[in-house]
Every structure is written in structure tokens, then in C-alpha cells.
Amino acid sequence: MPRPELQAPPEIFYNDTEARKYTTSSRIIEIQAKISERALELLNIPNDGVPRLLLDIGCGSGLSGETLSENEHHWIGFDISQSMLDVALEREVEGDLLLADMGQGLGLRPGVIDGAISISAIQWLCYADKSSHEPMARLKAFFGSLYRCLTRGARAVLQLYSENMNQSEMIMKAAMRAGFAGGVVVDFPHSTKARKAYLVLTCGPSSTQTSLPKGKGEDGETCSDDDESDDDDEQTVGIYDRHRPAKRSKITKKGKGKAWVLKKKNQMRNKGYTVPPDTKYTARKRKNHF
């Protein structure tokens, strides 16, 4: 099955049937809970026992928000799918729910939110589902409004399934332009199934935040894959690695040259991606074969 993002807009894809299927799968519940716990950990909220006001962006049926409630935090959830929110109501989640499109920006006052998580949702912004949609403009509206509503020094941790490098770069660029500092933390980078990428963003001067936390399993430590092997669930949440389409290649007449390739590879390495080593073969010209 193709990625959900390629099938239909989110408010159509997550209809009543899909919303129920999503929220009754014990595997999905478990996976989303694990990711949310990790995201909360990466938010790095001071351990002072004070509950905070947080956002859950693309909160869906409330699986991710539940982790916030379990940790005593109050939260406001944004989602574009009425069906997902209906399931959240049924499940009596503790956060407040808003039917809203994050690509239109979050309508919140400046400087009032202590942190934000988003689990398996923001990759949807990379797709133009209507003729009026421009992904870059929607990313800008989203990150700009997110930056404004957070208190200085607050973090946003966004776990996402991007389809390719272009998308993650596009998302990162939009976040940086909005003023965020930060980068990508990748957990279990060596595992196709367990690999999870988190954008860890800090609002305000980057001087207060020293370095990006380390991804889990970077040293080859593995996590058990067997509990994430149901194809049906993967289709719904978006664990796509096995079906990932071939990378689209840009066709340029001259090519970009070795220096450019080395620079890009380095950038990617710095962002925490696994990049093949630089060798004498890197970016070398290929003969034309006819």
C-alpha cells in the first residue's frame, strides 16, 4: 500500500473507519505510547513536579496526549480529522481538543505554551492536497505560529515519517527560518523498522541549549523489532521503510560537483543521518554509456 499521505488528504484518510481501526490496534497504541514517552523525554522539562501546559499537534484520537496526561501535564490538541477527534471524545481524553489545520497556523497568544509534541503528523504538511496548498507556505505558517506561542527556551519535539531527504530538509529549513534552533535526533538509525526521527527544536537563543541529545541505539544497540511487524498497522500509522519509493533524482545538466556533494553529506551527518563515507568515488563523473 502506498503511504497514507499519498492516498488522500488527512481529513479524508482518517475517516470513521480508519480512526477506529487506528485506535483499536494494540500494536499502534503501544508504538504511539513509546514514541510519545520519548518525545516527552526529549522536551526536557525541568523535573520540578510542576505540571505544564503543552500542545499535541496532530493529536488524533489522543494516544499521544494520554502520555502527557499520565505525566500530569495539561494539553491542547490540534487535529484536522473530525473522526479522529470523535474517537478521542469517546475515550474521554483529558486534554482540550481543537478541530484545526496546523498548516493554517496555530491561533494562540504569544509566549504562553511551555512545550509541544507532535507524533507521526507533520509529514502531512509536505503534500499539497488542494490547489490552494503550497507546502512551503503551510510549513511557514505552522512553524511561525508555533515559535510565537511558545515561551522562550521552550522546546517542540516533532516525530515524523518523512518520505525522503527532500522532505526532512524542507521541514528543517522552515523550522530554522521561523527562528528555532535544534536538529534531528534519530533513535535506532540502523534498524529499518525501529528507526524514529525526532525534530528537537528550541525556541529562542540557542546559547542556553548546548548540544542535541543523543539518539538511542546509535552504537548499534538494537531494539526488538518483532512487535512492530504488522503490515496493516504500518499502513495506518506510516512505518514505511519497506515500501519507500526510490529517491527522486534531480536532473541537472552539469551536476553539482564534488565540493557540493561533500558539503551536503556533511550537513546530513551533522543532522544525525547515516551517510556513506567519503571516498575517491564520491561524486565522480560517470561516463556516458550508450
Binding site: V50, P51, D86, D96, Q104, R109, G111, K130, S132
Partner: protein, 125 residues
């Protein structure tokens, strides 16, 4: 939706300068008990727009729940009764049906089953 959330919401229709506070039209609301947590209340207090909170509580007929003037934060440390009223206003009143009205444009965002519909029309983005 609780008044805590209402207090943070601001209209983001393109071009709107004064989108705060959204006027609350409550047709149906309920009260639900929520665990009292003084630490949370003291932490959130500086971020609350007091006049907006008082105004929205009044729209439910809670005329004397909160003082007109924002109390001094030191009072929140000593006055337990005040803290409990603040708790009740912020977390225990849930708007179920009604609407939110942008003060500048008059655009109404409906609230159904406790969920405000904040989706903008294409010409509002």
C-alpha cells in the same frame, strides 16, 4: 473546552490585528471536577489574561467567582480560597455547545461536542 484553553486562543484569520479575546457564546456547558494542583496554578498564573478569564466566567453567570482586578501573585501563595476559585474557573467549566466570535471580524467559530471548529476558509488564510 475549558476556560484555560479559551484564554490562550486568538483568532488567526489573515490580516486580523485584534483577534483576542474571542467572545465566548456558551449555549451548553458542564462542570467537572479536576484534581487540584497548586503548583500548576501558580505556574500558569502569570500567563493568564485575567480580564479575559473574568469575562468568560461571567458569560456563564459566575459573576463573583473571580475579582475584577488580577490579584498579586503573592496572594496566590497565601489565599487558598482564591486559588480554588481560580482552579474552578480555569479547569472545571467545560463549554460543550456554542461558539467563539472574533472581536474584529465577527466571524463565528462553532463549538460542537466541546470541540471548537477553528478551520479557516480559503479566503481567510
Amino acid at each position: 473546552m475549558r476556560l484555560l484553553t479559551h484564554n490562550m486562543l486568538s483568532c488567526n484569520i489573515k490580516g486580523v490585528k485584534n483577534g483576542y479575546p474571542l467572545r465566548l457564546e456558551a449555549e451548553k456547558w458542564t462542570e467537572k471536577e479536576v484534581d487540584f494542583n497548586a503548583k500548576f496554578l501558580r505556574g500558569i498564573f502569570p500567563k493568564i489574561d485575567w480580564p479575559a478569564l473574568v469575562g468568560s466566567a461571567r458569560s456563564f453567570g459566575f459573576n463573583d467567582l473571580l475579582p475584577d482586578e488580577a490579584p498579586d501573585s503573592s496572594l496566590l501563595a497565601s489565599d487558598d480560597d482564591l486559588l480554588r476559585r481560580f482552579h474552578h474557573a480555569l479547569l472545571e467549566i467545560h463549554v460543550e455547545e456554542g461558539g467563539l466570535v472574533c472581536p474584529e471580524t465577527g466571524r463565528r467559530f462553532p463549538i460542537n461536542k466541546g470541540i471548537p471548529n477553528l478551520l479557516l476558509h480559503e479566503d481567510e488564510v
